[in-house]
Subunit: 364 residues, 2 copies
């Protein structure tokens, strides 16, 4: 039977408890679809700091290197908030993981199911059928990693600077990911930049327009980032796929996630290059929401984002598309059947209000 | 009697028609409060391009230099959209005006009146009393003007870059503006940055924390920009004053404006230094919305943003606070009396649906 290796990094806050449930779902599809996974659990984030002082220990990197893909929970919490930024759980684990594994393509679905529009902050009449946007964020370039970055004294005062920088090839490869995704969906792509101000955005727009020639069926539109931030709150259902650079993607994908109504429902994938001779990617899969320390340990967190992260792992890194689909279908069914964790419940009599484990049971 | 000089730059799209109405309101407060204005009209944006090829002619700069403040309409439209970015109406007029006059402090109120929550995309139950946020955006620094900015060939491919850079003194002066504004309002300030990634944001956060010591009554909170983009859509009424750097301010103030429900209601001020020996600023005042070419010339645009821009001009640059207050009160009264332009109408029988001129009549 087929065997895959995965690294399991549960992390902090609700990470461990939603991870436990998602691994039960993975067990279930393994026996149903006839494959197995070797799982290597490793410390990350605050848990790793508490253990050995570093949010991303070498042993964790090794476990990831030996895997076909990383299943990640979430990191961070008040306990580590006052450490210097570089050594904090989020920053100190996520950025080095992205860079080390070249995870340049961040796919973040922003889905508001028609039955869950009440959970969105947006008026129901603006999103009568919910919406389904895919945000493709460039994840290893731009102002996050550009150099020079730092500070110095100039004319007797401190000056601090960052460099927003893109190479043509970096823009090309993320645009190909976005156009390919659009081909498999509604064939409409919005590329977001600030080409009226930024030189890096002018290049971004040029390259997007060029790459578009390879995908004549996809309709490409360019939006300025300020305009995109506006349209996302008023007309989220007008988007199909949205592609943008690292910093804009950070802001817009979070805005989109909040607008979708439940962060607890949204998985994400951070993909590197394709594996040699295959259509599969090395990637890292994690919920879009954070570690939610306020509700950790109470058994009430929504496990769906983590469970759908397993589905993305199966599809993009393990080549188990049928198992992925089965998970996605089961999640949709559980929602249809009325199962609701607190974050998506309205209190209506037709709902079955459940905790983390019961939601996973329903999906199973 | 007191005389002030103002430059009037109506611009494109709905600019001229809302400007006409706002000047009628200015006439009214002049006779009521016993002062006069000398108005120097000048071309800007597309209108200036059509006239002489440049969006910001020297004659316009001179008119502004000779004034106590600039009343600005709006610029841009499809006709000039395909010019190179540098020479387009928005970019080619706004950025040079900001730089030339050192307009470093952009004040953008984001107000959703309790009677107009229906116009906001956010669910009424999330904003039962509407909201009133003031966004303070740094306007002459950061990645907009930082150098180096451009492109070059490296290792055989094109690379494009921008520099996000802040001096301590630039951060200090905008923070003082924001803290002062907070002192005159709810005494709560949220400073938005990305200090977990950007060196310029680390300095920003340090300086904000230091400047806070001068304003012990103001409660300062720091938010990361991705989090701020989320909170603005879910809890806009949790903010009092928000301060941030240029690019984040561009994105967040537009998001906030959209969330407030009517761009047609929101004025803005871009302030430079205080005039010598006075508490007044040289500044430029303009609606937050754009030139709205789709409804230009139809007499249906909401003139309130332009009229409230006159009020800000009176308060911050001309020292006519009573006249400013009279205008703001009259606008509130017109809304209370049920006058509604199309952008804020619901169709309810109690409303008086009006056009641009009738709204100004109601305010007058
Ligand atoms: C923690 C932080 C460095 C990170 C980012 O900005 O990329 C986070 O906000 C995210 O989006 O994954
Ligand atoms: C037109 C553009 C250069 C400008 C900006 O980005 O500042 C505009 O979006 C604004 O906010 O006034």
């Amino acid at each position: 039977s087929r065997t895959h290796r995965i690294a399991v990094l549960a992390g902090d806050g609700i990470g461990p408890e939603v991870m436990t449930e998602s691994l039960r779902v993975l067990d279930a599809v393994e026996s149903k679809f006839g494959f197995t996974t070797e799982r290597s659990e490793a410390l990350v984030g605050g848990a790793a700091i508490d253990d050995g002082g570093h949010p991303l220990p070498d042993a964790t990197i090794s476990a990831c290197e030996a895997s076909d893909g990383i299943l990640f929970g979430s990191v961070g919490g008040p306990k580590w908030e006052n450490l210097p930024p570089d050594t904090q759980p989020e920053r100190g684990a996520l950025l080095p993981l992205r860079k080390h594994f070249g995870l340049f393509a961040n796919l973040r679905p922003g889905v508001c199911l028609p039955s869950l529009t009440h959970a969105s902050p947006v008026k129901n009449e603006l999103i009568p059928n919910g919406f389904d946007v895919l945000c493709v964020r460039e994840l290893t370039g731009g102002v996050y990693f550009g150099s020079p970055k730092g500070r110095e004294e100039r004319d007797g005062e401190t000056v601090a600077f960052d460099t927003m920088i893109y190479k043509r090839s970096e823009i090309e490869r993320i645009l190909h990911v976005a156009f390919t995704a659009a081909m498999g969906r509604g064939k409409r792509l919005v590329s977001v930049d600030k080409a009226n101000v930024l030189a890096s955005s002018v290049l971004w727009r040029e390259v997007a327009t060029e790459v578009a020639k390879d995908y004549p069926e996809v309709e490409l539109e360019h939006l300025y980032v300020d305009n995109a931030a506006m349209q996302l709150c008023r007309r989220p259902d007008s988007f199909d796929v949205l592609v943008t650079e690292n910093l804009f993607g950070d802001i817009l994908s979070d805005e989109m996630a909040m607008i979708s109504g439940s962060l607890g429902m949204l998985p994400s994938a951070s993909l590197g290059s394709k594996k040699e001779g295959s259509d599969l990617y090395f990637g890292m899969y994690e919920p879009s929401g954070g570690s939610a320390p306020d509700i950790a340990g109470q058994g009430i967190a929504n496990p769906i984002a983590q469970i759908l992260s397993v589905a993305m792992l199966l599809r993009f890194s393990l080549g188990e598309a049928d198992a992925a689909q089965a998970i996605e279908d089961a999640v949709a069914k559980a929602i249809d059947d009325g199962y609701r964790t607190g974050d998506i419940a309205t209190g209506a009599a037709s709902e079955k209000k459940v905790g983390t484990k019961e939601m996973a049971d329903a999906i199973l």
